[in-house]
């Protein structure tokens, strides 16, 4: 409930390591609200979020196994890429040589090597998005939550980000929200279609084949018709 309005209701999601879940929906479907609740930015009025079986609010600080990229990457424009990632690693409890190792690894993984000494504020949108993803990865979390990671990028950048997400899905559990069908087709194992705050479809992407678009349009245009997984 936000400002007395129910945004998301009866949503039940479980996710294993090594899979990518795509949260698909039109604007205002409740995707961002759902992800903000998972990331702990919003407290759900009822229900709970468990990571590794432990309630989010009970996880000790610093040991939190979650990385979150909001819609707008949370960057400090005045810092250099390396400095920023160093801070993010320390913020999540890494210390000493582990920090340097983690930062070096994530810079390489996200292709930020050439811009590591540049100010975040001066980077192109594509690189800023990568830096945003890098901060979500730097502490090697179990769960990575990405809110529209490829929105606003040019086609080449979008392809690169999708490849990165697919790569991440091999080792981590990834939840990404999007309203772009190609995002889901390119990198998700599982699809949840969210409409008006309710999950209208929840199932493996492969089962849908090329029918994703048709299913999506049917759900959006006929809000009351039940759709089975």
């Amino acid at each position: 409930m936000l400002a007395g309005r129910r945004i998301v209701a009866s949503l039940n999601l479980t996710l294993d390591r090594g899979s990518v879940l795509g949260l698909l929906g039109v604007n205002g479907a409740g995707k961002t609200t759902t992800l903000r609740m998972i990331a702990g930015l919003l407290a759900p009025s009822s229900g709970q979020v468990l990571i590794g079986g432990v309630e989010l609010s009970e996880q000790p600080s610093g040991a939190r196994r979650l990385g979150y990229l909001p819609e707008l990457p949370p960057l400090y424009a005045e810092l250099r890429v390396g400095e920023y990632l160093d801070f993010c690693a320390r913020l999540h409890g890494l210390r000493g040589t582990l920090v340097t190792q983690a930062v070096t690894r994530v810079i390489e993984r996200c292709g930020l090597g050439d811009v590591r000494r540049r100010l975040l504020g001066n980077l192109s949108k594509g690189f800023q998005q990568r830096a945003g993803i890098a901060q979500a990865l730097v502490h090697a979390p179990d769960l990575i939550v990405l809110d529209e990671p490829a929105s606003g990028l040019d086609p080449l950048q979008a392809v690169q980000i999708r490849a990165l997400v697919r790569e991440l899905g091999k080792e981590h559990a990834v939840i990404l929200s999007t309203h772009l069908l190609p995002d889901v087709q390119a990198c998700c194992d599982r699809v949840v279609i969210l409409h008006e705050g309710r999950a209208r479809y929840d199932g493996p992407r492969q089962a849908l084949g090329d029918d994703l678009e048709a299913l999506f349009l049917r759900i959006v245009s006929t809000p009351d018709e039940p759709v089975a997984a």
């Binding site: 407290a43 600080s61 909001p70 707008l72 949370p74 005045e78 913020l91």
Partner: protein
């Protein structure tokens, strides 16, 4: 963990032109003021040299400078603290801290310590001016030390107020305005009451100068320390509450 945030806040302040510009401007104004009071003292000195209880250089140069530092910081701290939360909220960087798993109190304390560290650097640089007189004359170092302690408690309170304003405001400018109004209100509260003919212990107690002046006169009283600590704690608690409320309200 708060120290990680504090260090980052300090770094962010030092890589931006605003903090450097304010530092330079404040020190420039204070240096001018220092030279003026020093000049005044040099003119006055021969006339009062014969009086055994005459005020010395500490009273006539160093303490007026410390009072000037307090007045200038009243205006400057809101500008330094305005971005703490409001700026991060505006740029979209706040979720980084909110999703880190740190408690809201630790986030607030981290930001607070970073700002206070910067202000202590500023105070120490300003104090170097009166201390340089030690080369040619004897200063009352104990009084200077208590005055410096008072000044640090004073700015630590201003920093907490600025952070509190920043946590409530959506834009940094609004945060700066809000903090400035709060500061001036607390600075002039008792004066206003006195002009109106009200002489109340309570109004006196609320005003900032009531608690700063004893330090400048070399008196360290627990009642003054408690006042500053209490005011800062309330401001920081309110900022923490505001962050928590945002998690519920969205």
């Amino acid at each position: 963990m708060s120290l990680v945030i504090a260090r980052n806040e300090l770094r962010r302040l030092f890589v931006q032109p605003l903090a450097w510009a304010l530092l330079a401007a404040v020190l420039g104004v204070l240096a001018y003021f220092f030279l003026l009071t020093l000049q005044g003292f040099l003119v006055l000195m021969p006339k009062i040299a014969g009086i055994p209880t005459a005020p010395g250089v500490t009273d006539l140069v160093a303490l007026p400078l410390l009072r000037a530092i307090a007045s200038v910081l009243l205006l400057v701290v809101p500008l330094l603290g305005m971005r703490a939360f409001a700026g991060d909220r505006q740029s979209g960087a706040l979720p980084l801290l909110l999703a880190s798993g740190l408690s809201d109190a630790r986030i607030v304390v981290g930001k607070y310590l970073g700002l206070v560290a910067f202000l202590i650097v500023l105070i120490l640089l300003a104090l170097a001016m009166p201390l340089s007189l030690q080369v040619g004359t004897a200063l009352d170092l104990t009084r200077l030390a208590t005055a410096a302690l008072g000044l640090i408690l004073f700015v630590a309170t201003l920093a907490a107020l600025a952070l509190c304003a920043s946590s409530y405001a959506q834009q940094p400018v609004v945060a700066a305005g809000l903090a400035l109004v709060l500061n001036l209100l607390l600075w002039m509260l008792d004066a206003g009451a006195r002009y109106e003919g009200v002489s109340s212990d309570f109004v006196n107690y609320l005003a900032l100068p009531t608690h700063l002046e004893p330090f400048l006169h070399g008196i360290v009283a627990s009642v003054d320390i408690v006042y500053f600590v209490l005011l800062a704690t309330v401001a920081l608690a309110l900022a923490t509450r505001r962050l928590g409320a945002a998690r519920v309200r969205g």
